[in-house]
């Protein structure tokens, strides 16, 4: 029926946007880590997690639990994660001292906000209550202190991008799974057969 078709199309578009953002982020991450400088731009370097990184949503989950998520929970987990990560990314952009990189980060924030809107659209088309408007209960991961660029702030930036990358990878699988559950219905031809007496 019509809802199935519009939902499936919305899911497909959200999947494609996720893939696009995933690609964009991998380029942006290279630029940002170069901006952070050594050791952050060493591919084998993984800094410790800053104390407040617990407030960043982790995409990690057990396979059986992830497979068992129903559509609504799957979508709302995505929406909540990106709401928090968008807030953190805005703080990151605000504290970035390199103008061109700051513009790229802000441009990416726009894309991420588009993803949030897209996810909300999918939820609505599937008849679920709209998710929490972003920014409400979202903890402030970064207190933008332009000029202060200490190691812990750099670590924070590293982990925001890392979690974002992982969520986009997970979301691609989430939306792929939703796509398979709600395939775009083939165009159905209706045959009208004149039945005597009806």
């Amino acid at each position: 029926n019509v809802t199935d078709a519009s939902s499936a199309t919305a899911i497909q578009r959200t999947y494609e946007l996720t893939k696009y953002l995933e690609h964009q982020l991998s380029t942006l991450t290279v630029s940002y880590l170069t901006y952070l400088g050594p050791p952050f731009n060493d591919p084998d370097f993984t800094p410790p997690r800053p104390n407040n990184s617990a407030s960043l949503p982790s995409a990690a989950t057990r396979l059986d639990l992830w497979k068992g998520l129903d559509n609504r929970l799957r979508l709302s987990e995505n929406h909540r994660a990106y709401s928090i990560l968008l807030g953190a990314l805005k703080g990151l952009a605000a504290g970035t001292l390199c103008p061109s990189l700051q513009r790229s980060l802000q441009h990416f924030c726009t894309g991420l906000h588009g993803l949030l809107v897209s996810i909300a659209g999918v939820m609505t088309s599937l008849g679920y209550p709209p998710p929490l408007p972003s920014g409400e209960d979202i903890p402030n991961y970064f207190t933008p202190k332009p000029g202060s660029f200490d190691f812990s702030r750099k670590m924070g930036g590293f982990w925001v991008l890392k979690e974002l990358q992982t969520w986009l990878w997970r979301s691609a699988k989430d939306f792929n799974r939703l796509k398979k559950k709600l395939p775009i219905p083939r165009r159905r031809t209706h045959m009208f057969i004149a039945c005597p007496g009806i």
Partner: protein, 320 residues
């Protein structure tokens, strides 16, 4: 370093290039003995060595079963299996997930041979959690680990410690889940000509049977093909489909075709599949039937029976 062998003889391990001394049981320094190696007398020994046998800068050639007999009775007093080798160097570890998201396997090897028995101890951590490691029943120096979770940012760290009688050494590998995913090549690659289409080949394949859940973790594919007569490949990337029709094949030319696979989001491409060969459909040559008439036949034939023209009609097929 010493151990005991099944036959009861002591095994003495010594480092290649070192000087070695073997002691004949617990005999005192004044005792006089004769040494044999693998049943043959040991030449040019110094008398004042008493019950010991000294070998300089040993190499692999000195390996063997050494027996010492007390003079003058010739009584066998001791037997030593001498094994010369090296302590292990740092093992080199590689890990890969071809069964994502079920788990991954790790393999290791030593950069230099040790020539003596060497054991390996493997431990795997994910973040702060120790994971269970399963030895591979078939492949030597390989173990399997189940992924405790997916979409994780915590690094995995695999530690391999090699130990033998001459020493030990450890090597490790740290990696993200995302970086070790590499499927096996696609299977059952088949290419068929399409009747009536001299420039097409239909290629089909299966996802690798080791990939556990292609529905939930879809693969994308990379197809490459070229005519045997050329060296440059043509490439085609395909997402989520296990068939493709080549439409620009050179008519009548034999093609070589291969396929590779990759998770749609993470990891690296598989190796290429087995190469297969196929040739596009070729139109059957038409048969032209040519009839030849001799003089005798002409005399017999009455004018009305002779065909108006003996010229082969266009489209007739030649007699094969």
């Amino acid at each position: 370093a010493q151990r005991r062998s099944q036959q009861g003889a002591r095994i003495q391990y010594e480092k290649i290039g070192s000087d070695v001394t073997m002691q004949c049981g617990t005999l005192g320094s004044e005792a006089s003995v004769t040494w044999k190696v693998n049943g043959t007398d040991v030449e040019n020994r110094r008398e004042d060595d008493g019950p010991r046998l000294a070998l300089k800068q040993v190499d692999l050639s000195v390996n063997g079963l050494y027996s010492c007999f007390q003079n003058p009775t010739g009584e066998l007093k001791d037997q030593i299996i001498l094994r010369v080798g090296n302590p292990p160097k740092e093992p080199i570890v590689t890990c890969r997930s071809n069964t994502y998201p079920k788990g991954f396997y790790c393999s290791w090897h030593l950069p230099h041979p040790t020539y003596i028995p060497t054991e390996f101890e493997v431990s795997v951590r994910h973040g702060l959690q120790d994971l269970q490691v399963q030895k591979d029943p078939i492949h030597k120096n390989r173990c399997h680990v189940k992924l405790p979770e997916i979409f994780s940012n915590n690094k995995y760290r695999v530690n391999v410690t090699a130990t033998n009688a001459l020493g030990n050494a450890s090597g490790f590998l740290a990696f993200d889940e995302i970086s070790i995913v590499k499927p096996d090549p696609p299977e059952k690659v088949v290419a068929n000509p399409i009747p009536g289409n001299p420039r097409k080949l239909e290629v089909t394949w299966n996802s690798p049977s080791t990939w556990p859940d292609v529905e939930t973790f879809p693969l994308k594919y990379f197809l490459r093909y070229r005519p045997l007569i050329l060296d440059t490949w043509q490439h085609m990337e395909l997402s989520d489909s296990t068939s493709y029709t080549i439409t620009d094949a050179y008519a009548g030319k034999e093609y070589i075709i291969q396929v590779a696979a990759k998770d749609t989001e993470i990891g690296t491409w598989s190796d290429w599949s087995v190469a297969i060969h196929a040739t596009p459909w070729i139109e059957e040559p038409k048969q032209i039937i040519i009839t030849t008439t001799t003089e005798a036949d002409e005399n017999e034939t009455t004018p009305s029976q002779a065909s108006p023209s003996a010229k082969p009609q266009v489209g007739d097929t030649l007699g094969s």
